[in-house]
């Protein structure tokens, strides 16, 4: 692509360029910068307080939910009568293993399709 500029216009743009005094402008920029920093800090403090309050009030229900979820994930899939077999299958004989295997299958299937 060729760039064709009108020399007269180019000269006009160059001549219209003024050297602007920095004093007032620089001060305003730094003041806004300081205000923005204060707003950011205030935002983080408020977010932290909200999070802390949520954790404080929801600690008991969250703990209960985590306990229930752990119990659910550890539920055995089969209940063999033989204690030795039960012991050997223990690492894979639970809901969480089933979920992990399902997830891996989905990822493999997705990769094969895409």
């Amino acid at each position: 692509m060729t760039d064709e500029r009108d020399p007269a216009l180019q000269a006009l743009f160059a001549e219209a360029e003024q050297e602007l005094a920095p004093e007032g402008f620089s001060t305003r920029v730094m003041t806004r910068l300081e205000s923005a920093r204060r707003r950011t800090v205030a935002g983080w403090i408020i977010a932290g307080l909200v999070l802390l309050s949520c954790l404080w009030f929801l600690a008991a229900p969250l703990q209960y939910a985590a306990y229930q979820l752990t119990g659910l994930l550890a539920t055995p899939l089969i209940n063999p009568d033989e204690p030795l077999l039960l012991f050997l299958l223990l690492p894979v004989n639970n809901v969480s293993t089933l979920l992990v295997l399902g997830l891996i299958s989905l990822v493999v299937a997705f990769r094969k399709l895409v």
Partner: protein, 192 residues
């Protein structure tokens, strides 16, 4: 001016940029002092409104402070800052729906606002630019004021290269028409 600030004023820009990137606010203040004129002039050409131009220039510097850690080469600060300024302008256009009548050329010769402390020639140029549609004006300013190639303008504005070329050609013709007095009388008269 304190000794530290005086030291910044005498330091090479790459060093000051490095310090600002490390979080030194005084170093950044020095960069603002050094680069404000260029950014403000660019914004004045882009928006043809002195107050808005200064406001957008301030926003560009705020963005620069927030993003300066992303700057990889300290020597490319000036170009990076100009790109941020143009992005700030384009965001302003999108946010304020300023492109709604983007294809219209304004025939009112007194289109520029907030002209205090603007020289006659700059005022005339800003008035003429204000009559161009926003996208045409942006392409013209980036080409003539910033000296960018058409491809660079296309990348920055995210417009197709053919459109940029067309905008610059049409904008140039219009500016030649609006600023014909400068060509006829050796740039001594104002735009009619």
């Amino acid at each position: 001016m304190s000794a530290a600030k005086d030291g910044y004023a005498r330091s090479p820009e790459a060093l000051v940029v490095g310090l600002a990137r490390a979080g030194d606010r005084d170093a950044f203040a020095e960069l603002v002092r050094r680069r404000q004129s260029g950014v403000r002039n660019l914004m004045r050409r882009l928006c043809s409104d002195v107050t808005l131009a200064d406001d957008l220039a301030q926003q560009a510097f705020l963005q620069a402070w927030l993003k300066i850690r992303q700057l990889k080469k300290v020597n490319s600060f000036a170009g990076w800052l100009k790109r941020l300024a143009v992005t700030t302008w384009l965001q302003y256009l999108r946010k304020n729906d300023a492109l709604r009548n983007a294809d219209e050329y304004i025939e009112d010769a007194q289109a520029v606002r907030g002209v205090a402390s603007t020289s006659g020639m700059a005022l005339d140029l800003d008035r003429a630019l204000a009559r161009l549609p926003a996208h045409v004006r942006t392409c013209i300013v980036l080409s003539y004021h910033e000296g960018m190639t058409n491809n660079e303008v296309a990348v920055l504005t995210e417009l197709p290269p053919g459109t940029v070329k067309s905008h610059i050609r049409r904008g140039t013709q219009k500016l030649q028409q609006y600023l014909s007095a400068y060509n006829e009388t050796g740039r001594t008269e104002e735009t009619p």
